[in-house]
Symmetry: C2
Subunit: 344 residues, 2 copies
């Protein structure tokens, strides 16, 4: 677990920007945040992780196993404006990844979603404005903000039709970031992530991502229930590719004030599940079942994104094919199952 | 002041829908809310007004002079979820107009704007969902949500580029309304208002609308400072036309779940000011001055909207020309100046 991820596709100059740099990561014990922290430690950054360890969310101390002594871990909640006002000071970069990511939970408890994804983001922007206006900020938004597709693939100009409270609040959270650039000159970038997967994602329960739960079932050898026909196409990014995008966005001046889609090769959900079952060798198979009503009401149908803008502007492309990424992911959970399913 | 506005352009059947109907109006002591309340009283509705009388906002008891005995006035704040949960029960219609409308204030105190325009709207939708799911809701949004125009006139498919915190929060507030229709079947409609003017608007200070302050200056005989060249075009709606749109939206099933622009004939700001000075006869003239920096940062340039969708779907069109509307407005403030400027 002490090994640090390879630098991926990044030019050496990008990595060099982080050597010795103070970096704050909100949500840094979560899936993407911890993978980013591991990469940044390898690049010599001085990483501070903020995480609330909110029960049921993605924070997991095992995600930083092997780098615990090389990062500063600050347990606090982005809903606490005072801790953030202190922690942003002196940082060169802020990767603002903390969020409530469960669409289902956002409908059951919409006010908590609002506090985390909307009000706290405004609070973080105010903290940067007043206490560190020179900070470089990268925010992670979601392609869920687009909702059902008017056309495919979805580019950044596609209208936003959020289909759940989480989508509404994420749009507001992203908008504050872009607004604080336009009005106050804070150097912000938003990346709209598609389905990100890989080692360290939350697979304990089905409330956060469909893919995390599918991986859980495949590794556990359980039969997978595929809602609807599985014929809708989606796109997937392996987490190391997403980390590349975060580092590129943080260092390229052309990214300032911009919103970029990530994205990948579209495949049907059924094909993705079949690939997963093949690499898991010996899962419990797959059956088609009807949508449960509360999921159907917020399902978005066929969705995949156009990532031409980030490819042209920052030179980013996904590099890890789905089969290879799923194989690495399954191998990770086979080895570390207890840290992601049994405990906590 | 006891006279009730004429029914405007509305078909008789629309007016008849409100006879005896229980109607709740949030922000009902404000400019548009009180004009709507006056019309609804004339149609025989049983009107309950909710207003916070927040200092500096548009609430003014004189706005309901002459109908005080025919409406129920409930002073409470939409930020108080308990009062709304009680008040929505048994209502057939909710005109949800309460909002913090000052763009400048939203930048100075972004959290108050968030609480009123974002969190409270979610709270009102939750109240409807749990306590009166059959209610018919019309929400007033703003063309400010579009921000700077990618193309003109702006139709409902134009991307939203909010240029201030108020715009971000209003988008969230509107989105909750549309979402609660899609997910829970609450019958909601959103009208995106352009510059609305007329008797009973707030003209006391310049923080809420530019036009209100221009009217204040014209009636007071002060010299008007026009920021920039005044060459940008805007569109304006007289308040009686906006009330027509609210009543049409509340009664036509084709409006359910929909967003509609209002809009009018585009004119340059300079032409609008010249018309205002002509009808005010004896204002202090007009001079061009540079933009103050804090206003320039959130100025949106030339903006006017395409209202084809509501014209085709609901048969709405603006009927009061700018000169006539301004003449009525100036006459109103000449008669009632002290209630809008000197007092309070």
């Amino acid at each position: 677990m002490g090994d640090l991820p390879r630098a991926g596709q990044l030019p050496a100059a990008v990595g060099a920007s982080f050597a010795g740099a103070p970096v704050l990561i909100t949500g840094g014990l979560g899936f993407i945040g911890s993978t980013l922290a591991r990469r940044l430690v390898g690049l010599g950054a001085r990483v501070t992780i903020v995480d609330s360890m909110l029960p049921g969310a993605g924070g997991n101390l095992f995600n930083v196993a092997g780098i615990e002594e090389r990062v500063r871990i600050n347990i606090s909640d982005v809903r606490d404006p005072n801790s953030l006002q202190y922690l942003v000071r002196g940082q060169r970069f802020l990767f603002n990844l903390a969020g409530q990511n469960s669409h289902i939970d956002s409908m059951r408890d919409p006010f908590t979603d609002l506090e985390i994804n909307c009000r706290s983001q405004l609070s973080i922007m105010e903290a940067c404005r007043h206490h560190n206006p020179d900070i470089r900020v990268v925010y992670t938004a979601t392609r869920q903000q687009y909702g059902r597709a008017d056309y495919l693939p979805i580019d950044e100009r596609h209208p936003l039709h959020p289909v759940d409270v989480n989508g509404v609040n994420n749009i507001a959270g992203e908008s504050y970031h872009i607004l604080y650039h336009q009005v106050y000159g804070i150097r912000t970038t938003s990346l709209r992530l598609t389905n990100t997967y890989g080692p360290r994602m939350l697979i304990r329960h089905p409330r956060q991502t469909a893919l995390g739960w599918l991986i859980h079932q495949a590794v556990a050898g359980a039969r997978i229930d595929l809602f609807g026909g599985g014929t809708d196409r989606r796109d997937f990014n392996y987490v190391d590719d997403v980390v590349d995008a975060l580092l590129l966005a943080a260092t390229d001046p052309a990214a300032v004030g911009e919103i970029f889609n990530l994205g990948g090769e579209p495949v049907t959900l059924r094909a993705a599940v079949e690939t997963l079952l093949e690499v898991a060798e010996g899962g419990g198979g797959c059956r088609i079942v009807p949508f449960p009503p509360e999921r159907k009401a917020i399902d978005i149908g066929e969705v995949f994104t156009d990532y031409t803008k980030i490819a042209r502007t920052l030179g980013w492309r996904p590099t890890v094919p789905l089969r290879e990424g799923l194989a690495r992911t399954v191998a990770f959970y086979r080895e570390h199952w207890r840290h992601y399913v049994d405990e906590g």
